[in-house]
């Protein structure tokens, strides 16, 4: 689209009528584009809108065969209170934060160290060992969860935070992305750090990490999102409220009225869902630049 604009500016048309016609056509096209884009946005946002208004309806109104598109019986904010008290939603949130924090911490520590070793190391078998990392990229947890479950059971970590965190303690993806970034840092900066008497850890902390800050923030945000939204592993390992995270907690809330879908209080469930999305939305809008650019960077590699 940028190019088109440039084109009409640079090519002065000799015939005025012609240029007027093409200008009108352009305005028409742009308007059509805007309208179509708005329609797409409305369609994409509709489920979120529906979640919101469902969360404010009474049971009776929610079960009506012809649904109302705005709560007719007033806004029932007490659904949010029910959501918070029916299950310990705040405890679930805390569990999610704790799990995500530890996974992030462990992934970053092991990841930054390993990425440095693989990007700058001069040891034997460096490339052979790196193949181990690349290979791990291709083996999802959904393949290996049975033996990992056995391992966690042997450690007696079922239904503990340790059991929740441990399988996410390392990320091959993070090592891979950070290594790419570390390789682009000029060796002379690292040498300067060493000359100044910093050890490897010191050089990492004071030279490499600050220089690669934006890419580290980016991969960290990906880890946070993955942790926050992970459903599969917590579903396997969480048995009680002590370890339930938000993703499984919300599904648990829905089933807490029994398996029959006609007795599930979806208004309360939607209220809980909306509450659980708040931290994500905040994170998203405060770090949008990092997040979007991060995803595109991954694609360019």
């Amino acid at each position: 689209m940028m190019h088109n604009r440039k084109r009409t500016h640079s090519s002065a048309d000799p015939s005025l009528a012609e240029s007027k016609k093409s200008a009108r056509k352009k305005v028409l096209l742009r308007t059509a584009q805007t309208i179509l884009a708005l329609l797409v946005v409305l369609a994409m946002a509709f489920p979120l809108y529906w979640m919101f208004i469902t969360s404010l309806k009474t049971d009776l109104e929610m079960y009506e065969v012809v649904p109302t598109i705005w709560p007719a019986s007033g806004l029932h904010w007490e659904n949010y209170l029910t959501a918070l008290t029916r299950v310990p939603l705040l405890k679930y949130t805390l569990n999610t934060v704790v799990m995500t924090f530890w996974q992030l911490f462990l992934q970053l520590t092991t990841g930054i160290l390993a990425a440095y070793g693989f990007a700058r190391g001069r040891f034997k078998f460096r490339n052979t060992l790196f193949v181990l990392v690349l290979g791990a990229l291709m083996i999802p947890q959904q393949v290996t969860f049975v033996p990992i479950y056995v391992m966690i059971a042997n450690l007696d970590w079922i239904d503990t935070m340790a059991g929740l965190v441990f399988p996410g303690a390392v990320s091959a993806y993070m090592i891979f992305m950070l290594r790419q970034n570390f390789m682009s840092v000029d060796q002379s900066y690292l040498d300067a750090g060493r000359v100044d008497g910093l050890g490897i850890i010191g050089t990492l902390r004071h030279v490499l990490v600050p220089m690669c800050r934006s890419s580290i923030v980016t991969v960290a945000l990906v880890t946070i999102m993955d942790g926050w939204n992970n459903y599969f592993w917590p579903k396997i390992i969480s048995k009680t409220d002590a370890t339930r995270v938000l993703s499984v907690g919300l599904v648990y809330l829905k089933s807490s009225w029994g398996e029959n879908e006609y007795v599930a209080h979806y208004n309360v469930v939607m209220a809980a869902v909306l509450l659980s999305l708040i931290p994500i939305v905040v994170l998203f809008f405060t770090n949008q630049k990092y997040m979007l650019s991060g995803y595109s960077k991954a694609a360019m590699k």
Binding site: V146, P147, F232, A299
Partner: protein, 298 residues
Amino acid sequence: MTRKKHRRESTLEFLCTVPALILIVVLTYYPIADLVRISLTDWNLIKPTYSYVGLKNWQWLVTTIKQNHVLDSFIITLKYTIGHMLIILVFGLLLALLFNRMSKGFAFMRSVVFMPHYIAMSTAALIFSVILNERFGIANAVAEAVAGVRIPWLSSGSVALLVMIMIASWRAVGYDMIIFLSGMQGISKDYYEAAMLDGASKPKILLKITLPLLAPTTLFLAVTQFIASMKVYALADVLTGGGPYRETEVIVYMIYELAFRDFRIDRAAVVSICFFVFLLIVTKLTMGVSDRKVNYDA
């Protein structure tokens, strides 16, 4: 630097990689080996002991292939994956073309389209189970008003699979759009200027320049999202429970049920290995394609 110091240095650098390598071996490679071992036992999670029974579970896989649902679950998962990928790649590209305008309004609209990507699949399934509820959901109210029919969104297998594809695509299409947009921005302006000098029309430029040069982006999306969507689990678990009549029972759901409902982790291991080998073959194949066919000039 002296030689001794050099050796010390490279040892330290090696040590940096050790924690990650140990964790990767423990959490990825050891479990693969353990899968093979478990597949040779008669391990039932509720029994305290187990013994090695040779290839009995593999025999189960082959001799009961018509009844054991393994093949079916692979086919269901592949249907889901191919449908999902077609939708998000085609619509991701179309949306990228539609939303490719540099203004504040469009930037905001792009972020709305991208938003669903941040919602957990399990949570998305909850939201859609309200919309698609066959009795009081808005989807059927609309269907009845427009076409006079009520659609069995989740109680018919083929419709339920389509529903799963649509929900997953709702979550992913904005992501594909963003990646395509950044791919389009990576294309050198020289190509466009040359084409305009030659008097090429807009559709022609799209067809002959933009699309071919987006091939690497498309391949990146195809490879990463293929594996990601083969892992589908939450949708089946929250929305359909694999039903009706196991018609939405995808691979991972099947492994999970074998392991934690039937407690037959020996059989679960066998299916896991099949899944692993399948992913390996697909990855190898797509890498072969990417080495030969894709234009990396952009």
